[in-house]
């Protein structure tokens, strides 16, 4: 394996990277909503948003304006501080998790740009050697957003929503962790870059062939952790109005939203990096392009599933987690261990 010597990572580079992530992911999250509506519409043979901008592209902008200008209501009996902080937790944890995710390849800002010229911007803001652990940890901490939001708002739907948050996130955290334990064992590192490099040998070397069960478990658990159909129980309209977000409006509600989409992206990136070959070049396709395609696919998969499947009941959710997925994950780890020892 060829060893490349990377330029030194400066604090300026990290800040720039962080700003980029924040800006781009927010934008992409917004764009994600547009995509979601479009894809769902197409699958139902509708057109989706069409009227703001060409093909409704500026709908995001309209939504943004709406979210920013809507009145920010804090219910009378709510715990004001917690109520106000909770959305920020969701958004912050989602973005912090992203700091350890390689989002773009490294690059150096061209010399001719004043001030920043020559700064090296790394592919991830923090190349932690425990990247995966960090990401999972951060996402798990994201649990506090909905949990506190629901409990602070003095609304029974909110309480129900936060209760569901607690059980759903905590339970599936286990599955997520166990499911990627096997790949970690294979790679022998927690760094995502290592994962990437492990699969550098073309499609055949992708992790998903060695760990199909782990992939499936990871995806299922990922759906659950991002609160996506068929596990969108936290704010299921037909059951709990809007769950933990019942009393939220305006930008605060928007932060939950962005957080959710950021998490979707995180999960998509993780799936792409851990199981689908990362950002290695694929034939003539450049690595950055390939990974965008892969992320897009996993993102699309979430929308697709939402269009196709009904959601499950909370009891089925638990049953599935503890009685099906968790045992399978454990067995998978054990088998992987045996295979490695053999």
């Amino acid at each position: 394996m060829e060893v490349t010597v990377l330029p030194e990572v400066t604090w300026l580079g990290v800040v720039i990277k962080a700003v980029i992530i924040l800006a781009i992911i927010s934008a992409i999250a917004g764009f994600g909503t547009y995509l979601e509506r479009k894809v769902l519409a197409f699958m139902q043979r509708r057109l989706g948003p069409m009227h703001v901008g060409p093909y409704g592209l500026l709908q995001i902008l309209a939504d943004g304006i709406k979210l920013f200008t809507k009145e920010d209501i804090v219910p009378q009996n709510a715990n004001k501080l917690i109520f106000q902080v909770a959305p920020a937790i969701t958004a912050a944890t989602a973005f912090i998790a992203l700091s350890a995710v390689p989002v773009f390849p490294d690059f150096t800002i061209p010399e001719f740009i004043p001030l920043l010229g020559g700064t090296f911007v790394p592919s991830m803001a923090a190349d932690l050697n425990i990247g995966v652990l960090f990401i999972l940890g951060m996402m798990a901490a994201g649990l506090y957003g909905p949990l506190l939001a629901g409990m602070a708002q003095a609304n029974k739907w909110g309480i129900l929503g936060s209760a569901r948050t607690a059980i759903q996130f905590l339970s599936y955290e286990v599955v997520t962790g166990l499911s990627i334990l096997a790949p970690i064992m294979l790679v022998g590192s927690l760094s995502l870059i290592e994962f990437n490099d492990y699969q550098a040998g073309g499609i055949g070397s992708w992790m998903m062939w060695q760990q199909p069960v782990a992939l499936i478990l990871f995806l299922i658990a990922g759906f659950a952790e991002t609160n996506r159909t068929p596990f969108d129980l936290l704010e299921h309209e037909a059951e709990v109005v809007s769950g933990y977000a019942t009393e939220y409006s305006g930008m605060r509600w928007g932060m939950f939203f962005i957080g959710e989409y950021a998490n979707m992206i995180t999960i998509s990136v993780l799936a792409a990096v851990i199981f689908a070959g990362g950002y290695n070049d694929l034939g003539f396709l450049a690595g950055w392009f390939v990974i965008i395609l892969k992320i897009a696919f996993f993102f699309f998969l979430m929308l697709w599933v939402r269009a196709a499947w009904p959601h499950v009941r909370p009891d089925q959710l638990m049953w599935l987690c503890w009685k099906v997925l968790m045992p399978i994950a454990v067995i998978n780890v054990v088998i992987t261990g045996f295979v490695m020892m053999a």
Binding site: F42, M43, Q44, R45, L47, W304, A308, V324
Partner: protein, 207 residues
Amino acid sequence: MSLEEFKNRNIGKQNYVKLDLEHTPQTPLGRFSRVVRRTLKGELFVGLYVTLREMINALFRGEMHTVKYPLEKLPISPRYRAIHDMLRLLESGHYRCIGCGLCEKICISNCIRMDTRYDENQRKEVSEYTINFGRCIFCGYCAEVCPELAIVHGGRYETASEQRASFSIFEDMLTPVDALKQQKEYDGFGAVSPNADENIKKTPLAY
């Protein structure tokens, strides 16, 4: 979509299959085996397949359902009871209404009013005619009772208004004289039944 296509859309083409739902298994084992069975059967993937197929149909095969409403409009059924039209006689172009007042009488919302007078040609002239659409419930009685097939329900169904009451006067409802050729006979509520002739006894004429 043409009227003909429209009328036949989605009717009787699908082969609906009745779901043969099995009983919910009672034992844990039964339940487990059902999960396994269903999982392996790939039912979930059928769902994915169907949605993807529909997306492809919609995007590439022109089977998009959406009608971009204010820009595109579907033809409405002739039996739809929308805003009224007042028709004219095809030959002379004179309005058909003779001012008999039956519509005024039958209207259950009491929203029709008319002014008539004796005109210079010794005819009853309908000098003004209004319907208060703020009150009209589009029951169609007026169209049904009209002996002259003068008042009918037209195709204008966009009745939202910024006013609490919006009136239409005679001129608004009357076929414009220059559009006489396009005037369509109304074949909905109150139209003459196709076998009307059979139901009428002939009156002898001495001419």
